[in-house]
């Protein structure tokens, strides 16, 4: 596609030019991406970004991945960011390019994922005149970005892009959008990429308050029924190793939220499983009945603690560590708030705890563990392993076995997502990629593409359902173009399973519009995109099929598992109920 000599010439030309001559906004944008060390961007061209694409064409440092829908571009950049700890970058055109991207942006915003989205805009003189493919991008995206910019002057472009990367990746991360009108991408100015930017109104480096940390240590040492509850903040801030150190030092039980899985090794005895609406019995009971709760990078959301009134317990003391002050005392009042960068605060905690001579009372801790173990005996995740129909839980368990627990797993949203979270034991952070906050169906496949781009050679599996997968199925084409050997685990129960489950429990078995009729033949569909398709109908075939799929190293394999239609996710805390008011299997 590219003529290497031609590229070399251009680069030579550019380096000479940048010394003296001015660059266009489009050139500047691409140079900024190069300066930031961006290797992959995900996007879709269009009128307003033609100059940008022209510059991308002339270089080979930033590789562009052409998706088939802008939502997928942002999800892919998102999966890339989540799995690699780099800022994900997406490029979309004005108007529908942006509106298609909004779902992806909101998904990243809810889960605090660092992204920079560059969008084209109609020329500045046309803004506000209802021009072709014009939308108020800054207005539409304002409630679902950490920040956004409309660049009206090419002289501000480089600094703005620098700010975008800085804001996206510091503090509580999040998506930042830079809207570039077409004429700005044509105008010329001298290019200087600032080494750093400072903003008087944005100082994200917060150190935990020493006095508060001391108070926390005291509470921890006096705890009789302690619990450590951690969320996505531990993953995002790369604090998993320190968290593990702290938990082991204290011998306390630890639970992770859906977003926090992998923050503490799931195969460790001190891990009591995920908590929340579909958390384990032991995690939810320990959460409800503990006397000292250490919340780390988590936000007590409705899917985690259920009804805050029921959760409230005057005898329980709560320590809450989070970088975002607005996450503290939002739904639950806490006793010791510590605003700060999670790994730094954990470091301080560990240091102080090691200095102190005393330890939490080991006898009471043993009694607490005995209580937790008795809750564990409830075996809340059990299911019928002898079923003649494939149980979805069994597929996830087998996938775990076949991949030695070492794959990157993305998911869509619904029952399959919960089974993936419950049955794939994540020992490492950044391996579990799902849309926890916004709950975006269609996230799984495109985010898996981003994960695979960031981790070539790694096993990447997308656990999905026949409803979710159809929301971004077009990306099978992208996977073919870029040779992404994803393994798609389609738990096909012919229903929007989670909707069906709620209808069964709370709407008198009236399955309104949740049956997925007229499904495609997924095997033929995968084959028509140039991939391998498999249909697995017997429980006895599950393991062999998975083994075979992972042997096909360079190929995407779409595995359509025909699963039990009536299976439900247990335990379940019904909406609005308390955490200990679980429906059990």
């Amino acid at each position: 596609m590219f003529n290497p000599t031609y590229i070399a010439d251009i680069q030579h030309f550019e380096t000479q030019e940048s010394m003296s001559a001015e660059l266009t906004g489009a050139e500047i944008t691409v140079r900024c991406l190069q300066e930031e060390g961006v290797e992959h961007i995900f996007g879709y061209p269009g009128g307003a970004v033609l100059f940008l694409y022209d510059e991308l064409f002339k270089q080979d440092k930033v590789r562009h991945i052409l998706v088939r829908h802008e939502q997928a571009a942002v999800h892919a950049a998102d999966g890339y960011a989540r799995s690699s700890n780099k800022v994900g970058v997406a490029l979309v055109t004005s108007g529908p390019g942006v509106t298609n991207a909004v779902t992806g942006i909101a998904t990243a915003y809810m889960d605090s994922i660092p992204l920079v989205i560059i969008s084209g805009q109609v020329p500045t003189h046309a803004i506000g005149l209802d021009a072709f493919q014009e939308v108020d991008t800054v207005g539409i995206t304002r409630p679902c970005v950490k920040h956004n910019f409309l660049v009206k002057d090419v002289a501000e472009l480089a600094t703005t892009i620098k700010k975008a990367f800085y804001i996206a990746s510091t503090g509580r991360p999040g998506p930042v959008l830079v809207d570039i009108p077409k004429d700005v991408s044509q105008q010329k100015t001298k290019f200087v990429y600032p080494e750093r930017v400072t903003m008087r109104s944005y100082n994200p480096n917060i150190r935990g308050h020493a006095g508060q940390i001391k108070k926390a240590v005291q509470l921890i040492l006096e705890a009789r029924r302690p619990m450590i509850y951690t969320g996505g903040g531990v993953i995002l801030s790369n604090a998993a190793a320190r968290l593990t150190e702290l938990v082991r030092l204290l011998r306390f039980p630890c639970t992770n939220t859906l977003m926090g899985l992998g923050g503490y090794p799931a195969t460790d005895r001190q891990f009591v499983g995920m908590l929340g609406m579909h958390g384990t019995y032991e995690a939810n009971m320990a959460m409800q009945h503990c006397d000292v709760l250490v919340a780390v990078g988590a936000r007590f959301d409705d899917r985690v603690i259920g009804n805050p009134k029921h959760f409230y317990n005057p005898d329980r003391k709560i320590i809450h560590i989070d970088i975002d002050p607005s996450s503290i005392s939002k739904r639950v009042k806490v006793d010791v708030p510590i605003v700060g960068n999670v790994p730094d605060v954990l470091d301080e905690l560990i240091k102080l705890l090691e200095l102190r001579k005393e330890k939490p009372d080991q006898n009471t801790l043993d009694a607490w563990w005995a209580q937790i173990d008795s809750w564990r005996e409830r075996d809340c995740l059990r299911y019928d392993r002898t079923s003649a129909i494939i149980k979805p839980q069994m597929v996830v368990e087998t996938l775990y076995k076949v991949t030695n627990g070492d794959a990157f797993i993305t998911s869509d949203v619904g029952q399959h997502q919960m089974w993936a979270a419950q049955f794939y034991k994540f020992d490492l952070p950044r391996r579990w990629i799902n849309s926890g906050g916004l709950g975006t169906m269609g996230f799984g496949l495109p985010s898996a593409m981003g994960v695979q781009m960031a981790n070539p050679g790694a096993h990447v599996a997308c656990i999905t359902g026949e409803a979710s997968i159809q929301m971004c199925i077009q990306e099978l084409s992208t996977c073919k173009q870029y040779h992404l050997p994803l393994k798609i685990i389609n738990l096909n129960n012919r229903y929007m399973g989670m909707v069906r489950q709620w209808q069964e429990f709370f709407h008198g078995n009236r399955y309104a519009e949740s049956y997925m009729d007229a499904l495609p033949d997924f095997v033929k569909l995968a084959e028509s995109y140039g991939h391998v398709g498999m249909r697995i109908e017997q429980p006895g075939d599950v393991e062999a099929a998975l083994l075979e799929a992972f042997k096909l190293k360079g190929r995407l394999v779409f595995m359509d598992f025909v699963t039990d239609q009536t299976e439900n996710v247990f335990p379940m805390v019904p909406g609005g109920k308390g955490l200990s008011e679980m429906i059990l299997v």
Partner: protein, 155 residues
């Protein structure tokens, strides 16, 4: 906050998206043209006010947030009120404006336009004191506030 296009809509958007009340909102550039100062009047429980403060602080363009009602402060609001003033009402309205230390800034043979400054409740009281049927039009700026004495908000 930074005197930048869009900063106001971020604040207004935050209040509507999170369901907070805005009773009034005034904003203009300060002596430093890169900065705007906004006075926003809202109501809510202590928890809600705490959340509002935190959420405002998160906005990139917001430089500093102070809850003026936590200490002594002064607030003033400007109202322009146009009233029908005919016959013996003219004298009565003039006297009422004087009592409230308002000024008549525009006159026709049928109307007065009165300028009145004070706290919101003083302006309310003036409206109450006027015969409702005489009020033709009112326009109010919303409150602007500042700390009393040495207390200052400086970035």
């Amino acid at each position: 906050m930074e005197n930048e296009a869009g900063a106001l809509s971020r604040v207004a958007g935050l209040f509507s998206s999170r369901g907070y009340n805005i009773e009034s909102l005034t904003v203009a550039a300060t002596e430093d043209s890169t900065l705007s100062r906004m006075t926003l009047v809202t109501t809510g429980s202590d928890d809600v006010i705490e959340q509002i403060t935190k959420q405002l602080n998160k906005l990139i363009e917001v430089v500093k947030v102070v809850d003026l009602s936590e200490g002594n402060h002064i607030e003033r609001e400007l109202m322009l009120i146009k009233v029908r003033a005919v016959d013996h009402d003219r004298e009565e309205i003039k006297r009422m404006a004087d009592i409230f230390r308002g000024r008549i800034i525009d006159v026709t043979d049928k109307s007065y336009t009165i300028e009145l400054t004070g706290t919101g409740s003083k302006l309310d009281a003036f409206i109450e004191a006027m015969n409702r049927t005489t009020i033709l039009e009112t326009v109010r700026t919303g409150a602007s506030g500042i700390g009393r004495g040495e207390r200052i908000l400086k970035v």
